[in-house]
């Protein structure tokens, strides 16, 4: 286990190094710099711009800039945010908890629903219910996630929607939040979480269900399932204790692979629901051309993906003792 984690750490460092180098190259390839014509500084005088470039070290030779960039990265220094006037790491750190809460809730919806629906389909292939669910999952799989969010706003959001049940913007009530009881505050946050988490989770659940259906189909034809049935076990026991447990393995691989997709989806969902997470920060920063934040966020997102993959590998080990951890 320790060796596995150490290997993963080295791998993570290698990935961060490559990602950082990629972002540096992209940054240098792009036309102009933060102080050229397209930016907020476009009307500043040439003297001002030169001074600002010198302050940021943009007048140094490329290799000097690159090594300085890497050295700063090693120290956890991702530079300053131009628009928020504070270190990038601080800006990003302030937004990460909201994204983790959203992603965790979405993962819960994704896998609980996806596994249940897929396993049910796999156990009843060819039935009317299977066909109907296949059409439904294929449709959900093809829906732009932000559009799904907007449809939920239209259907469920307070004041404005047809049903008017759930809040559709932010992570908590802005007014009066401080005056709620601790339990009331928690309930308020949960209410705000439901629509964004459902949106992100449902989009993922469609893919999980398709995968789980295939895995279940594979397992249910095997001899040990026939043996379990022949022993006279109840169908429910056969399906859940014998078939599903084995059909879960490939889905755990999917769990590891789903992190980048989940974070990508989170960006769009956060914008639709005004969720104060990393995704919104990145979009705002990209629109404001706050490069340091965007590059920093890409690096942080890559680290989150590596952590997610490691968790998936460990889970795999727990569920299937036959699997040896290798890095």
């Amino acid at each position: 286990m320790a060796r596995f984690l150490a290997g993963r750490l080295i791998q993570a460092i290698a990935i961060v190094f490559v990602v950082a180098s990629l972002t540096f190259i992209l940054f240098r390839l792009a036309p102009g710099d933060p102080f050229s014509t397209m930016s907020d500084f476009s009307s500043a005088s040439e003297e001002f711009k030169d001074q600002a470039r010198r302050n940021l070290g943009l007048d140094q030779p490329l290799h000097t800039q690159y090594f300085k960039y890497l050295a700063n990265l090693v120290r956890g220094d991702l530079g300053m945010s131009f628009s928020e006037h504070r270190p990038v790491l601080e800006s990003i750190g302030a937004r990460i908890p909201a994204t983790i809460v959203l992603a965790a809730a979405a993962l819960l919806v994704d896998f609980l629903l996806g596994i249940f629906v897929g396993a049910h389909q796999g156990a009843h292939t060819g039935s009317k219910g299977d066909d109907a669910l296949s059409v439904l999952t294929l449709t959900l799989y093809s829906v732009p996630v932000f559009w799904l969010g907007m449809m939920f706003v239209l259907l469920f959001a307070s004041n404005v929607g047809l049903l008017g049940i759930l809040p559709a913007t932010g992570a908590k009530t802005t007014a009066m939040y401080e005056h709620l009881t601790p339990f009331g505050q928690m309930w308020d946050r949960i209410k705000h979480l439901i629509l964004p988490a459902m949106t992100l989770g449902l989009a993922g659940a469609a893919g999980t269900a398709r995968y789980q259906r295939a895995a279940m189909l594979e397992v249910i034809r095997q001899d040990f399932v026939r043996t379990a049935r022949a022993k006279g076990l109840r169908e429910r026991t056969v399906l859940f204790r014998h078939a599903l447990r084995n059909a879960l393995l490939p889905v755990i691989t999917l769990f590891g692979l789903s992190f980048p997709i989940l974070l990508s989806g989170a960006v769009l969902v956060e914008v639709v629901f005004n969720w104060p997470g990393l995704g919104r920060l990145v979009v705002d920063s990209a629109l404001a051309r706050d490069y340091n934040v965007v590059t920093g966020a890409a690096i942080v997102a890559a680290i989150m993906v590596v952590i997610g993959n490691t968790i998936a590998d460990i889970l795999y080990r727990i569920v299937d003792p036959r699997v040896r951890l290798e890095s």
Binding site: A14, S142, V145, F146, F259, L263, A286, Y291, A298, V306
Partner: protein, 277 residues
């Protein structure tokens, strides 16, 4: 080739997929004749936010533009972007995968580690990074950016195929006959990767359409007044409650097109890849 086609046509999902894709590709190609209005024509304040009616089956938007006409032209823009950027990404991915798998050694290690790292960056973050730096790109720029950031998965698939065929006897035979590397790659390796690449390209079409829609929704993709399906849904965002049809209809069209490509991709996988048959 004819036999492949006839097998494809016996695949129900592929047929349905083709029908959907052909329908929307046809409508998009003929948009100039099919669309009832000019997609950018602002029909005046009195025509603003009209709900669906006989004159405007999909209603009108904030500027009184006909939503149906904009959906047809928007589908054209989205499809053209998807075709071009998938072509670009498949070309890059196949070349890199062939090179990595065929050369092996240092080339393989370097490219695959880079691909691993690139795959660890969530795609939207990567695209925001690039689009944030190249702000306000035109459609061609968008195609290049989408293509250049979408080949990583394909290169892995191709590399795996190449590794599998590299050690086969017919490769050894070709090499001992003195066939050059270029000819081996073209005549003996490439045909083997065509099936998985076709599947990846078809599924990639749907993915790119969704991603382009997302970027345009964020305001970083196709810019006004050009109609793209994603851009229309974004314009609909502010008007979601006043005029839901401006958002609902472009979304449904995106879903149907992407379903079409997914079905076709599944059908290709079922028929072209003998191992899953």
């Amino acid at each position: 080739m004819n036999s492949t086609l006839s097998v494809l046509f016996t695949n129900r999902r592929w047929r349905y997929g083709l029908a959907l894709v052909a329908l929307f590709a046809g409508l998009a190609a003929l948009a100039h004749w099919v669309a009832p209005y000019d997609p950018t024509a602002q029909l005046g304040l009195s025509e603003q936010w009209r709900p669906p009616s006989a004159a405007h089956p999909f209603g009108t938007d904030l500027y009184g533009r006909d939503v149906l006409s904009r959906v047809l032209y928007g589908a054209r823009v989205s499809l053209v972007i998807a075709v071009l950027s998938v072509f670009l990404s498949i070309s890059i991915g196949t070349s890199v995968g062939l090179a990595a798998g065929y050369c092996g050694g240092v080339v393989d290690t370097l490219t695959m580690r880079t691909v691993d790292a690139a795959l660890a960056i969530p795609r939207v973050f990567l695209l925001l990074l690039v689009l944030g730096l190249w702000y306000g790109v035109d459609v061609i720029g968008l195609v290049i950016i989408l293509g250049v950031t979408s080949w990583f998965g394909v290169s892995r698939i191709v590399r795996a195929e190449v590794m599998a065929v590299r050690e086969r006897e017919y490769m050894l035979a070709a090499r001992s006959l003195g066939v050059g590397h270029g000819r081996i790659l073209l005549h003996h390796v490439l045909p083997n990767v065509l099936a998985p690449v076709t599947v990846a390209a078809t599924l990639g079409m749907g993915q790119i359409i969704l991603i382009e829609a997302g970027l345009s929704f964020l305001g970083l993709g196709v810019q006004e007044p050009t109609a793209s399906l994603g851009r229309m849904m974004s314009a609909g965002g502010g008007e979601l409650l006043a005029a839901p049809w401006t958002t609902v209809f472009p979304g449904i069209v995106v879903i149907l097109i992407v379903i079409g490509f997914s079905l076709m991709g599944d059908g290709f996988r079922d028929t072209l890849d003998p191992r899953t048959r």
